[in-house]
Every structure is written in C-alpha cells, then in structure tokens.
C-alpha cells in the first residue's frame, strides 16, 4: 500500500523551516521585478531601449523575439548555476535530519521497506525544487509573454532540464549524506561537481594540453563519469534560443550517474545497522 507519509512530511518540513518559502519568495521577486520594473521600448518589432528599475540597459539592434530569447537564456544560466547551488544547499540537510539518532529508529521500526523511505525523502526534496523551478520559469515566461507578446515555448520546457540537473546532483548529495550522515559533505561533493563541470565540458580543448597520457585518461574518464551539469545548462540555452539539441548522451550519462548514486544509497541504507 502506498503511504505518502515521509514524502508529505518532507514537504511539510520545507514549509515549516521556511526553505520552501525562501525559494517561493525569491521566485516571486524575480517574476514580480520583471513584470513591474522591466520596460521595453519596441518600434516596429525592434527593441529600441530597455529600462530595468529605471536604469537603461544597453540593447543591440535586436528584434523583440531575439531580445526575449537572450534574456531568458541569460536567466536560465543564472538559475542553472547560482539557483542550482542554492537548491542543493537547502536540500542537503534533508537526509542527515532523517538519519539522526532517535529519529531514524522511529522510521525504521515501521512496516515499510527501507528503499521506500529513502526514495520518498528523495522525491520529496526533488518535488519541492521542481515546484519552485516550474513556478519561476512559467512565471517569467508568462510575464515576458504578456509584456512583449513573445511566447517562446523553449523557456518553460527548459524547466525540465533545470530540474533534471538538480535531480542528478541531488542524487550525489543523497549518496554522500546518507553514507557520511553529514549534509555539508554531500553539499561539498555536489558543489565541486557543479563547479568543475564547465572544465570537464571543455575536455576536448583541455585534454591535449595535459602533460601525460595518464592525466589525459583520468580527465577523459572523469568527464564520462561525472554528471554533465554544464552541458545540461548549455542545453537549456540551446532549447531557449531554438538551436539544435543533441543531448542524448548528456542526459544518458548523467542519468546513469544518478541511477548509480540512487542504487548505491539504497543498498547502503538497506544494509546499515542504525
């Protein structure tokens, strides 16, 4: 029988500890700022000027569509890096809190398989961030659509890639924080992956410059093993700017990484004595 207790409790916990509220307010501020403080001067479908909170922004001679796409792509980049880090930071405590002595006992003594407990917690954390990401992307898309009359389908769809990038790194947070029972350790690992992913994404340029074959092999192996967050964020930009998308191998290898993390977490959590 499906019991949503742990999943719903994760949501409830995020409401009470203001994590959900924080992201909701930040997303609302971004949407509200764009709606109220962004003014576009459009003449015959061409941008003549843009002001944001009264300050004039330099705009090349873009069409409105090009400008909206550029704006959305830029926003997606910020959300995909800074927002992703904030989301990982906020959710990194979910597992260590569940595993605290006296708390984990109360969960493990129930007639629920352990894999379901850890999965419910994971899905709870992912759902909180997915909701907030969807709210932000759809909100920005709707506001820009209403103001500029440009309804770029790629922007709301790119939410899926943002959520995917979060889920992949969150799986690493889950594995590390379950095995070490430390939230900061999980966050550190995921943040390192996030930080080094642009370097690994540039492996074709960097690898030839490495001094030995061993280093080149290690670097190439790392590229294939570590989730391709930079490329996923890059794919968001391509999707928004309607450029061709070739992300099967990016999604495939990142998904494989997330699955390995998930399976390893479940195996560890199932066998561990608490």
């Amino acid at each position: 029988m499906f019991r949503p207790g742990v999943f719903l409790d994760t949501f409830q916990e995020s409401f009470r500890n203001k994590m959900f509220l924080f992201f909701f307010i930040v997303a609302s501020l971004i949407v509200g700022s764009i709606g109220l403080a962004l003014n576009m001067d459009v003449v015959n479908g061409v941008m003549r000027g843009v002001t944001f909170f009264g300050s004039e922004l330099r705009v090349p001679a873009f069409t409105v569509k090009q400008w909206v796409e550029s704006f959305q792509a830029g926003l997606a980049m910020v959300i995909g890096t800074f927002g992703l880090f904030l989301a990982l930071m906020a959710t990194s405590t979910l597992f260590p809190q569940m595993l605290q002595k006296g708390s984990v006992d109360l969960l493990l003594c129930r007639p629920i398989p352990r894999w379901r407990l850890v999965t419910a917690r994971f899905l709870g954390g992912a759902a909180i961030m997915a909701f907030n990401a969807a709210y932000l992307f759809v909100g920005v898309w709707a506001v820009l659509g209403l103001k500029a009359g440009v309804w770029n389908q790629g922007f709301p769809i790119s939410t899926i890639l943002a959520i995917f990038a979060f889920i992949v790194l969150f799986s690493a947070v889950m594995l590390v924080s379950v095995t070490t029972e430390s939230g900061p350790a999980g966050l550190l690992v995921a943040a390192t992956m996030l930080m080094f992913s642009p370097l690994l994404a540039a492996h074709e340029q960097i690898t030839p410059a490495l001094s030995s074959e061993l280093y080149r092999r290690v670097f190439r192996s790392l590229y294939w093993v570590v989730p391709k967050t930079a490329e996923t964020i890059g794919a968001m930009r391509r999707l928004i700017t309607e450029r061709p998308l070739e992300i099967n191998w990016v999604v495939g290898t990142s998904l494989a990484f997330a699955l390995v993390c998930y399976i390893a977490t479940v195996i560890y959590f199932t066998r561990k004595d608490y």
Binding site: D9, R271, D273
Partner: protein, 310 residues
C-alpha cells in the same frame, strides 16, 4: 494473541558483532547466542548495565539492525517479513520527533506509517493524548515540549496504531513520579488486555514493580532469567531485632555474631533457622524481649549486582 502461539517474542541464538565496513576484524561483540522467549500478554523486563546489548537486541527485533546469526520471531512470524511490524509499537531511548510537527501530527504521521487506517489513528491519538495529559498541547509543535512531555508523546506514538507487542526502551526516563506511576498503570492495563510489553531498563525498582518475568543481560549474553520471585527466592538468612544494651553487645561479640546497631536496636544477622532459634532461646533466657524476626530475601538489586558484578 495468536491462538496456540507459545511466545510473542522468540529469540533463538542471536549473535551480533559490530565491525567497521572496511575491515573484517572484530570490533565490538554486542550479542552472543542470545536465547529467550516472551509469553503473550506478559510484561517482560530486560535488565543489564549500560553497553550490555539490550538496545541492540531490541533494534534487531525491530529490523533497525541486523543479526549476524540466529532468528527472531515476533507474534509468531519471522521478522524477515516486515509486515509483522504493523502490530508492533516501539518507544526508543531518546526519541527525536520532527520539530516542525505538532503532537497530533506526530501521532498521525507515525500511525499512518505503521499502516493503521486514518480513523483508528485519529481515535487512538485523541485517547492517548488525553490519557497522557497532552490534550491541551496537541496543536503545539514538539519543539516546544519539555523532556517529560516528549517522553509521554513517544509512548503515545508507540501505542497509536494499537499494536499487539510493544517495545519500551527506558520508558520512564525523564518522567516525574506521577507520570511514572501512570506509565506503569498503562503497561499493566495493556498486558491485562492481552498485549505483550517488553521493557528495556536499568531502573531496577521500575522493573521490579511491573514485570512478570525478567532476563539479566551482561556483555551480550543472557545470564539469568525467570520471574522476580524466582530470581529473588534464595533466602539469605534471618534478621532478629532486639533492644540495644551493653550486655547484649558484649554477648553478641562474645558469640561472634554479625549485627548492626540502628536507632536503639540491634539487628542480628543469622545464617539459618537453627541459629535463629538458638539466638532467640539464649536471649529469652536473659529476659531480652524480641522486637521482630524476619526472613531475609534477596532484592532484585542484590541479584543484579551479584550477577552483573561477577
């Protein structure tokens, strides 16, 4: 109670050694070949010093930890089949609830996780919150609770899904004497209604007051088990009390009898009935009045110290 079930909890040859995952070298032997059974509808106490393995055993029975060897049957079913845990309640030592929840939400969460239907959980939550004096606090977040209130709520969550077998790990820890008495009364009522209670404790007085049977555990092994009467049945002689006087003192010293002087009386310790009768005859011959004569029994504390200290 399952018809024909001999034991509500059956522990057969359970052993457990904690090891670091990166080495096969033995670290700590927590349990070694533990065997015992708990009769349905009884209150069973597991006594032992800190680190004896009591909590490890309970955790293995609840699948929170895993045994290296041996088997445990709960309510007639092997614990491998976790569905039996629907009928089991657990009050852990130092329970920690999600601090964002209220008392009522805590009971609803854990009741539903135990598989009980919402209506039953709601009814039982109201019943146990009332019984444990927490009704007024039901909508207050547990982060505001005192240690005693937290402990009472922990007992309520162990009972909210109406389990047939209840594990209580140090159930009276942090409670005042009135609340302790209430917990004892609840345990007795539950046992009388056919439920089985398993208490882990090192508070001997509590165990002595409520348990039907006990087992003593030391260094991961059961070293003694039986009813309180069986464990304390061994006589340790007689105690004769008479009024103190110099003549009596001199006589006792002359006879090399063991005694203690308390509040104007001497308590003479006599090893057996024959020596008690001889002492009475001798004292009566001296016109000394006997205040009292009692047969000395071992206390649970003396049994515990004797067995655990061996």
């Amino acid at each position: 109670m399952i018809k024909g079930m001999q034991f509500a909890l059956e522990v057969n040859g359970v052993s457990k050694t904690f090891r670091r995952w990166w080495t096969r070298r033995r670290q700590v032997r927590a349990l070694h070949n533990v065997n015992f059974g708990v009769v349905p509808g009884s209150i069973f106490g597991l006594l032992g010093p800190n680190g004896a393995g009591k909590t490890t055993l309970v955790k293995i029975a609840l699948t929170i930890a895993h045994a290296d060897e041996g088997e445990i049957r709960l309510l007639g079913e092997f614990i491998r089949d976790r569905s039996v845990l629907k009928r089991v309640g657990y009050l852990p030592e130092n329970p920690r609830f999600p601090t964002h929840l209220t008392a009522l939400q805590v009971l609803k969460l854990y009741g539903s996780l135990s598989g009980a239907d919402t209506k039953r959980v709601r009814e039982n939550a109201a019943k146990w919150l009332d019984r444990l004096g927490l009704t007024e606090w039901r909508h207050v977040r547990v982060s505001k609770f005192s240690k005693g209130m937290n402990e009472r709520l922990a007992l309520a969550q162990a009972l909210v899904h109406d389990p047939d077998f209840i594990f209580l790990d140090e159930p009276t820890d942090g409670l005042d004497p009135v609340a302790r008495r209430e917990v004892r009364a609840i345990c007795r009522e539950l046992a009388d209604s056919g439920k089985t209670i398993f208490i882990n404790s090192h508070i001997l007085a509590e165990i002595e007051l409520i348990c039907d049977r006990i087992a003593l555990m030391k260094s991961g092994e059961i070293i003694e088990q039986g009813t309180i009467a069986e464990l304390t049945s061994a006589r340790t002689g007689y105690e004769l009390v008479v009024a103190v006087s110099d003549e009596i003192r001199n006589w006792l010293e002359e006879k090399t009898l063991s005694f203690t002087a308390v509040d104007g009386h001497v308590h003479i310790h006599l090893p057996d009935r024959a020596s008690a009768n001889s002492a009475i005859d001798a004292l009566r011959a001296k016109n000394v009045e006997v205040e009292s004569l009692v047969q000395r029994r071992r206390t649970l504390e003396s049994v515990f110290i004797e067995k655990v200290g061996e």
